[in-house]
Amino acid sequence: MDNQELLWLEQARRGDQLAFGKLVQAYQRPVYNLAYRMLGNAAEAEDAAQETFVRMYTKLHTYQSDRKLSSWVLSIASHYCIDRLRRRRFNWLSLDEEPVAAVLPSGGRGPEERALCRETRDEVQSLVDRLAPGYRAPLILRYWHDLSYAEIAQVMGLSVQAVKSRLHRARLQLADARVQSGATLVMTAAGAR
């Protein structure tokens, strides 16, 4: 972590609002991205990201400088989003029961690219939305935050072994969900004709 951020943190701890604003500025993108990928829509993402920073502010005195600041902030965000998802009481693991809502792929992409990855941006999100919260977070931290197993483990408070196995299971589930939604897409396209 750079010294500038350490300085802002010190000032924010002493009640300097402006310094805390700088920290929000510096971390708004990773936090917002994590919240968006976790919760699946912009309105909830913004609310959760704001709440993350409010929590960060109230916990400033508990931060220990041997930890990376980014890892600490992401940890607050991921725990908050997981809690929020669990309150939705949705049956996450019913991957093979209900098909993904059929959305036709939008045009504008070449056939080669479509063969590689048919999903539009929204469809990728709807795939991620089907994972249980505890599996979703490691996947998001791995793909959209470029974190290593060790870093994900630190953010989520898990062992490296647990992160490894959750990413493995997330892949299994997502690949299955893709195959199923692919079948739905083909059927919808045939029915539309």
Binding site: G21, V24, Q28, Y32, N33, F53, V54, C117, R121
Partner: protein, 184 residues
């Protein structure tokens, strides 16, 4: 065997496999159709996930956070005032209650035993109220502040109501309270 390879495959995609492990995966893929199919499916998935672009927070995001923080701070200081007011009022009611009891004893209107019973049941009531509030606080977590305030408000009004009722009964039928025989 397939399961172990699958976990290694996942590690290769995450860039966490050693060169030896990656070689082990490659060797297995040439001989195993099932794992090879999984590999292809995961590769497409990997492309899909990696191609999803990063998202941009709304331009007024920092300002919204600071506004929310300010609102939270105002609310906290309001509730602190409310809380201390509540504590003060409860203390006054408690002191008033004791003063009334002491005055009654002084004037000899009540048998000392009855006063003792009234005092101990009052203490019992207060302590059970505390336990109920503590229980509600752990149950509802983040809203415990609200629950505590509601509970304290309820307890306070109940105490007031009981004291008023007691005065009313006293004034309506003085004979209802048994006069002790004069003590000699």
């Amino acid at each position: 065997m397939h399961n172990e390879i699958e976990i290694l495959m996942s590690m290769v995609f995450d860039g966490e496999a050693t060169p030896a492990e990656a070689a082990q995966v490659r060797a297995h893929l040439t001989t195993c159709a099932a794992c090879s199919e999984s590999w292809q499916r995961w590769q497409v998935l990997d492309t899909c996930l990696a191609s999803a672009p990063p998202l941009i927070p709304p331009p007024d995001f920092v300002a919204s956070v600071m506004a929310r923080l300010g609102e939270r701070r105002r609310r906290r200081s309001r509730s602190r005032w409310f809380g201390s007011g509540m504590v003060l009022a409860s203390a006054l009611v408690l002191v008033g209650f004791w003063l009334i009891v002491a005055a009654l004893l002084w004037w000899g209107h009540q048998h000392p035993l009855e006063v003792g019973i009234a005092l101990s049941s009052g203490a019992q009531f207060l302590s059970s109220l505390t336990w109920i509030l503590r229980g509600l606080g752990t149950l509802f977590g983040s809203v415990d502040g609200v629950v505590l305030k509601l509970g304290a408000g309820f307890g306070l009004s109940l105490t007031f109501a009981l004291v008023l009722l007691w005065f009313w009964v006293m004034s309506r039928s003085p004979g209802w309270v048994r006069m002790p025989a004069p003590m000699h």
